[in-house]
Symmetry: C2
């Protein structure tokens, strides 16, 4: 079992490790040195060794890393060796976009249900999914083995929807509504806030620093 | 003028600085020490001093930071002291979600136009915006002072749409289509990839490490 306290910085690099190794696998590369991996990842070789040591250290001195082993280990650590079922709470435009987003399916994440409490939306169908009422959420989670609930309601319903999801038994929330940092969740509930405004602020900084604002 | 080579790690912390200072302003706090700011930001005090020094260092020893000054400086550095106009290329569900996303307007980013090359979508109206054909993009950018183009097409149109945007004069692309890392853009074009699958991989890791997978 791995160390529990992996830093946010390491976690943020994990998807890139995954993608680099996936590419090496695809290119039939057998082994890779920390220097080569560092170049692909755009970090230092010592950072690579340090990151991978956090998970048990898969390298051998003078050999580097066996790509297939490292990819298999990383896949397991990331939970990408199995399928994950999700539901979306709030069947608006964002939910509709997600039901059709190929990037999720590609890594084994499937949207199994859409839920809303608006009677005008309940019963509508998007990409083979019929919007169900919130009252059916608790049973659905059990029956369909739902692991992650995507929160995609307008911000004014954020707290109400989050609390309904938690009551229904959802333990892992991926939140797209602004204001998620203010939600208080029980200790056994994981919430990841996807703050699109934060990304936009970063882009704004880069654009401004480059003198490309108007 | 600030240093040009700000690291990605510093950039990723900027939105949180902005939000912390915004909260302090809202709470009428006059000054803040690096220790207090460190606690809000969940990083070390020395990290705070180092980050803010990158931008010219606004603190005074024994006093800390003047909240109003620091907020004003940060706002300017982030380009949030002015309004920004954006267009969305690809008038699907994601685009529709964005036209209604309050988080963007709150920080001064406005979606002024939706563009598509699908005749069935052109002419449709979402939240007061009528979808225009791609041929009108170049003129629109000039007339409406458009700074950022949001790329929200399905991945199979990614390259074509990106190249149309660049030809039309868009210098800053915020890309939501998967596969953005493979786009080659000219040196004077900034592209920020918003990879939702990467976020999902991070969440999957956290869920798996916590033993909350099913």
């Amino acid at each position: 079992m791995m160390e529990k306290n992996i830093s946010r910085a390491v976690i943020s690099r994990l998807p890139r490790y995954y993608r680099c190794l996936e590419k090496l696998m695809y290119d039939h590369v057998d082994r890779v040195s920390s220097t080569e991996l560092a170049e692909m990842m755009k970090v230092t070789a010592s950072q690579i060794r340090q990151d991978l040591n956090t998970f048990g250290g898969f390298g051998q001195q003078g050999y580097g890393y066996n790509v297939q082993n490292l990819f298999a280990e990383l896949t397991k650590i990331l939970g990408l060796d199995r399928e994950h079922n999700m539901v979306v709470i709030g069947a608006g435009n964002l939910a509709r976009a997600f039901t059709n987003y190929i990037g999720f399916k590609r890594i084994g994440f499937y949207i199994k249900g859409l839920f809303d409490n608006n009677p005008e939306v309940i019963g509508q169908t998007f990409h083979d999914l019929t919007v169900k009422p919130m009252e059916e959420l608790a049973d659905f989670i059990k029956e369909e083995n739902i692991e992650i609930g995507i929160l995609a309601v307008p911000w004014e319903y954020l707290n109400e929807a989050a609390s309904d999801m938690i009551s229904a038994g959802i333990k892992n929330i991926w939140n797209f509504a602004p204001g998620g940092l203010d939600i208080e969740v029980p200790d056994d509930v994981i919430i990841q806030n996807e703050n699109l405004s934060d990304s936009l602020i970063q882009l704004s900084f880069i654009v401004t620093a480059a003198g490309q604002g108007r």
